[in-house]
Assembly symmetry: C2
Homo-oligomer: 361 residues x 2
């Protein structure tokens, strides 16, 4: 991880530069303009080096010379100003908060979507995620395992926390996300979509048996969790395995952790290309004869979307998507309890990891 | 708090007794039957001593002699058996898990609602919440503050955690819920509906300024959070103040923490009658000229329901419900950012607490 203090300086520098550039143009009696990376679908491309989705080379120019741009131009400048104020005053905020804060400055947004969009523009412009401008989402993921971390957030610098000492798990918020990794006894990371299974894994001492750090995403993984998963993979070299429900939504949860999301194609460091989707696969539903529910029309529609998504063109994605299409049934992680509460650990996890661990280096 | 080990024994005893009673009746060649407290609306009454909703004296008898009862009777016995197995084997589970587990025993439930209902019946029958039978909900509330706790869960007994050392907050799961309170420097509890405001309160050092333990409920407070809030109030004698969005849903979130929910009328210890709803009130929206949104039809319908709810017959509820009815507008906690990010702490919280703290003791 790049030192958070270095990052902070970088972001402040880029925001200052933006203001200075506009000021200079005004001072030269020119209409100021800004060149923004395009975030349109056309400009979202797969990057071989990053092994994830990134923005391409298309730009749009927003200029004060065009009356149709003027409002957005001014709003954009305010968002950048506000972000800089947040960082300098060491205060944090949320998307919702930025929307309301605008009113204190008599900047008017018609709805929150307007300010959200401009914050995303700003992320793309300075190439830093909004979290580095102290604009945080509500985070509800949790972590547990044999890893000691050291906080870097102001007021808590240097405090060490042993993540195996809190059996309810620690919330993955800004402080955990930016903590240093101090001492790690774990050898891999298990990412789990469902809290219930996260808790079962703690209870059945999966963290010991498999020397695994456990991360619960509570559904779609929040950005802080994705950032942390990548750091565990990159900085500690730990292989990452993802457990989701056996349906198209679970599959996509794994896909976003591995390849990133189109929404965040302009932000790097939120995907973990080497992470593996362990299941629940359509073929697991069949092999383990899991209790299952029929696909709804919505599920089928989503399935067809994923079949067209370039992220899912290879196996196991492709193979499993086709099986789902044929099977037209879905199963949750909890469905393994059909064979007893510990079956998921004693049998399913064991079967899967025998296969996957043999591939680890 | 009653010692968890004592509780555990009590629950096992009651479950064993249930099994023994049924066995005896069978052995005497009689049709076994069980007498269950009725959970119908008619039987949910306000209890002056508990200052919350409890079940009244109505019962229903479920008997194996009636063919229409037979299926439910057998399912109920299995649920009780399974709960006892969970406790004895020190494993935990969720509502969803119990539903799937039934299939391992060839007990068939048509849908999860069936098994959920029987678990609620069992709670009412033995008068213990399902958490004491190791059936847990997914919990996502968090806590922060100057309180040291000591875990009592197996494997972590005696470990002390300082809740002020984790700036992301600690998740309120089973381990925190059942921990001993070790050392408390706080003098009150602030319960907050929104994570964003919980984080702001940590950041603005509200826990220091007001010597407050901060609890984030992330919307409707999970049962573990409600149980913990009650314990903080009862065992440590700390006054509890609740901050919600200024709308009928926020109001009801406060109401459930204070008076309990009809769904859990059969479980004690989940409500905190002395807790106070601080706002956001309808009158706050007016007094602070907060940005607001118009009520939807759904909001208005919910408002009329609350006006008929006996829990909200006194002030401030009554007064504020009427104001909402007149105003027909709602504001979120984040709306205070209209006056700057720290306004909610520097002004709103200050104004409110000047009033409420003068009433403490």
């Amino acid at each position: 991880m790049v030192d958070p203090i270095v990052r902070r300086r970088e972001v402040i520098k880029k925001l200052s530069r933006l203001g200075l550039d506009v000021w200079k143009e005004l001072n030269d009696t020119r209409f100021p303009s800004i060149k923004l990376p395009s975030r349109s679908v056309r400009n979202i491309v797969y990057d071989e080096k990053e092994r994830g989705y990134v923005l391409g080379d298309l730009y749009k120019v927003r200029t004060a010379a065009n009356i149709a741009h003027l409002r957005k131009f001014a709003q954009f400048m305010w968002v950048a100003y506000f972000a800089k104020e947040l960082i300098k005053s060491r205060k944090t905020s949320t998307l919702r908060d930025v929307y309301y804060s605008s009113q204190a400055y008599e900047i008017s947004f018609d709805e929150q979507k307007e300010s959200d969009d401009l914050i995303t523009d700003l992320e793309a412009y300075i190439r830093h995620p909004r979290e580095e401008m102290n604009i945080f989402p509500a985070e509800r993921a949790a972590i547990f395992g044999e890893l000691k971390i050291e906080y870097t957030v102001p007021g808590y610098e240097g405090r060490v926390v042993d993540l195996s000492q809190h059996p309810d798990g620690l919330m993955i918020g800004h402080a955990i996300k930016t903590a240093k990794f101090n001492q790690c006894k774990a050898e891999r990371v298990f990412v789990i979509e469902k809290d219930a299974i996260f808790n079962r894994f703690i209870e059945e001492r999966v963290f010991k048996k498999y020397k695994a750090i456990l991360v619960s995403t509570s559904g779609q993984a929040p950005r802080a969790a994705r950032y942390l998963i990548r750091r565990l993979n990159e900085e500690l070299g730990l292989p990452v395995y993802i457990f989701t429900d056996g349906d198209v939504y679970g599959m996509h949860i794994a896909g976003v952790i591995i390849y990133g999301s189109a929404n965040a194609a302009h932000v790097r460091e939120l995907h973990t290309p080497d992470a593996k989707w362990i299941g629940v696969w359509a073929s697991d539903i069949e092999a383990y004869k899991l209790p299952s529910d029929p696909f709804t029309d919505k599920d089928l529609k989503r399935l067809d979307e994923l079949l067209k998504d370039p992220r899912y063109k290879d196996d196991p994605w492709r193979k499993e998507l086709k099986r789902f299409k044929k099977l037209r049934r879905k199963s949750e992680l909890e469905a393994f309890s059909r064979y007893g509460l510990t079956f998921i650990v004693d049998n399913y996890l064991k079967d899967k990891m025998e296969h996957f661990m043999s591939e680890e280096n």
